[in-house]
Symmetry: C2
Subunit: 381 residues, 2 copies
């Protein structure tokens, strides 16, 4: 194991009605909130009213920045940060899924440090301060509620990139699985793929971290265990709770310790380009890219793919191909796409994607990719 | 899953030479330290000099309270707390194993809150403040370096009890596996048993927390995986690192979320009485008690013991007896005792232990015990 630091200061409340704990957490930080939200479902479902009623009762003022898109864009970060500064708010409350919380994280450092958002994302400047951030999660998928990472896209520069900075840890997050019961089947499937992919990214990180390997595999097996039942019974609280915690554990550091980086992330880097070009839901881009990436990389890291299969199945003799097939079958059983054609994209689109990969050169932190890999992967998807 | 809060603010530095990060962490808190240590091995091995050299270079004053016993006693807490108050220290640095760090935790609230130590342990009074605490771990076993729990014994009242309070979280902990390379075989075995028992205590906690079940089992399988190699190669850094991280994960919350309590702890409560009466190393008391407890409890929680076996082996048809046998074989292979006679205790001692159990009524937070259980367990050990 390489040297590492295990540190995660987020206080995470999990379970029924945990939003009632919010006022107690925010009051020490002031009395005026910027609430950041998505495209309106939390209002239809009454969750927004539940929040504002609580704030009203606690004497907390609030303004709202609404309309964050599923693949969040830097323009929204800029506008929300401007609003936060103009209105002199004391803290940010993000209510929504990963895109809303990721946006709020970058708003918190953009407004808190008074620096340009995209320069922060590109690491051309470093944040110096952040507005305290609280998150209320309504969609289990990205794990952003308990980490210091955010992914934002920029259509002008044709980039979708991630940033990690300790100033972006939420002070507290509130996860009530009840809020995810109304999530339809497709975004639920996308969430399961995302959390599975996060567990895989952790597994394919650098160095030798045997316990983290086992914890990552435990997290994947948990997804295998409840997914079928959940998709047949979307309003089941207990199954929603299992998925929600599964997604947090996938991305809060637990399964990543003992590696210099927090995982590989090459597959995510490839997949982000599909969202960037066609606004494809993140989960679909991962079910398409991950098996293909493993098929190409099995030449370079056969022992890691076999190890993954061994830990998943307990079978010492499993092959890399059979290991990859487990994930193809899992994604297929969820109804997720494995090919670009399944989401309506054609050979011309594949050429465009390959071109953009060659231009932006996405790669893993551990397993490096070159043009040869891009070409092999594009043939498989 | 029941409602829970996931929160662990400890910053944990792991790896070679991480002690060099200590000055940067402590300086914001002041300039005078109380160093709490054990029975002298850290001095012989040069670790204490390494620490004091670092403090000297950083302009940090220090005094020492030495001599904490392997089963730490409340008298040492009281004396060290008195010294901390008299010398007006700014922070505590605990350098040693679980007993040293547990003592330092209770010193930090005893001196910080100016309250009697044993009343704090008995929860007759609540701590209101703590002196900032930093820990440098030299023995992997208890996981105390990344939690807010401590166990202290009192010979006058014939009690050995645990306390959990958020004020007892260390600010930062420093885990260099190199410091554990000189730990002899017996305490290494005791550490492996302790971390395995912690994983089992977590598993036997209340309610339904399937992911935590899997993470606990992953942690147990990790111990199964390296233990044999480590006992043959005690100075191997990588194997020591695996054990050290394994012990932290067993007791830092990771495998306990989704339950109302943090585990069962009935077995620990039984085992503590053996240490109390004969100063037996904690690990030996657990290898004696845990299999016997499972054999008696298999009548009441057969499904949980079978589930444990299923997750450990991947075999659906495994029996409770075969599951328990896995742990008996593991402890035996480590050279640990399964019977009181193996540590030199006789039938008269067993009567004395049974008498004390009946007097103090140790029980689990989840699985309740009565006199009938004590009688059955004492017959098996």
């Amino acid at each position: 194991m390489v040297n590492f630091v295990a540190y995660n200061p987020v206080k995470l409340y999990f379970g029924k009605k945990v939003i009632e704990k919010l006022p107690g957490e925010i009051i020490p930080y002031g009395k005026k909130a910027l609430i950041i939200t998505g495209k309106g479902s939390i209002k239809k479902l009454g969750y927004y009213d539940e929040l504002t009623n609580l704030l009203d009762k606690s004497g907390i003022e609030y303004i709202e920045y609404a309309g964050i898109k599923p693949n969040p864009v830097v323009e929204d970060v800029e506008k929300a940060a401007e609003l936060a500064q103009k209105e002199n708010i004391d803290f940010i409350i993000a209510m929504g899924g990963g895109s809303v919380i990721d946006t709020a994280k970058v708003v918190s450092i953009t407004a808190g440090s008074d620096l340009p958002a995209w320069k922060l994302m590109k690491k051309e400047v470093s944040p110096t301060a952040a507005i305290p951030l609280f998150s209320i999660l309504t969609l289990a998928a990205t794990g952003t509620e308990m980490n210091a990472a955010a992914v934002i896209q920029n259509h002008k520069t044709q980039e979708k990139i991630g940033l990690f900075h300790p100033l972006m840890y939420p002070k507290a997050s509130f996860l009530d699985p009840s809020y995810t019961i109304s999530v339809p089947k497709d975004p639920t499937v996308n969430g399961i793929i995302d959390l599975t992919a996060h567990s895989l990214e952790a597994f394919f990180g650098d160095g030798d971290a045997p316990l983290s390997d086992r914890l990552a595999v435990a997290n994947i097996l948990e997804a295998f265990d409840y997914s079928n039942d959940l998709l047949k019974d979307l309003t089941n609280y207990d199954l929603r709770a299992r998925m929600m915690w599964n997604a947090t554990i996938a991305e809060n550091g637990t399964i990543m310790h003992g590696r210099a980086a927090t995982g590989d992330w090459g597959t995510h880097a490839l997949a982000h380009h599909i969202s960037l070009l066609w606004d494809t839901p993140h989960g679909q881009t991962l079910s398409i890219v991950f098996p293909a990436w493993m098929k190409v990389m099995k030449e370079e890291i056969p022992h890691r793919i076999v190890k993954l299969g061994q830990l998943l199945t307990g079978q010492k003799e499993i092959s890399a191909d059979d290991t990859i097939a487990i994930f193809e079958m899992f994604f297929k059983a969820l109804g997720a796409p494995l090919k670009m054609s399944e989401i309506g994209l054609n050979d011309k689109d594949k050429k465009e994607l390959l071109h953009l990969w060659k231009q932006n050169k996405p790669t893993g932190l551990n397993i490096k990719m070159n043009e040869n890999h891009y070409e092999k992967i594009i043939e498989l998807i």
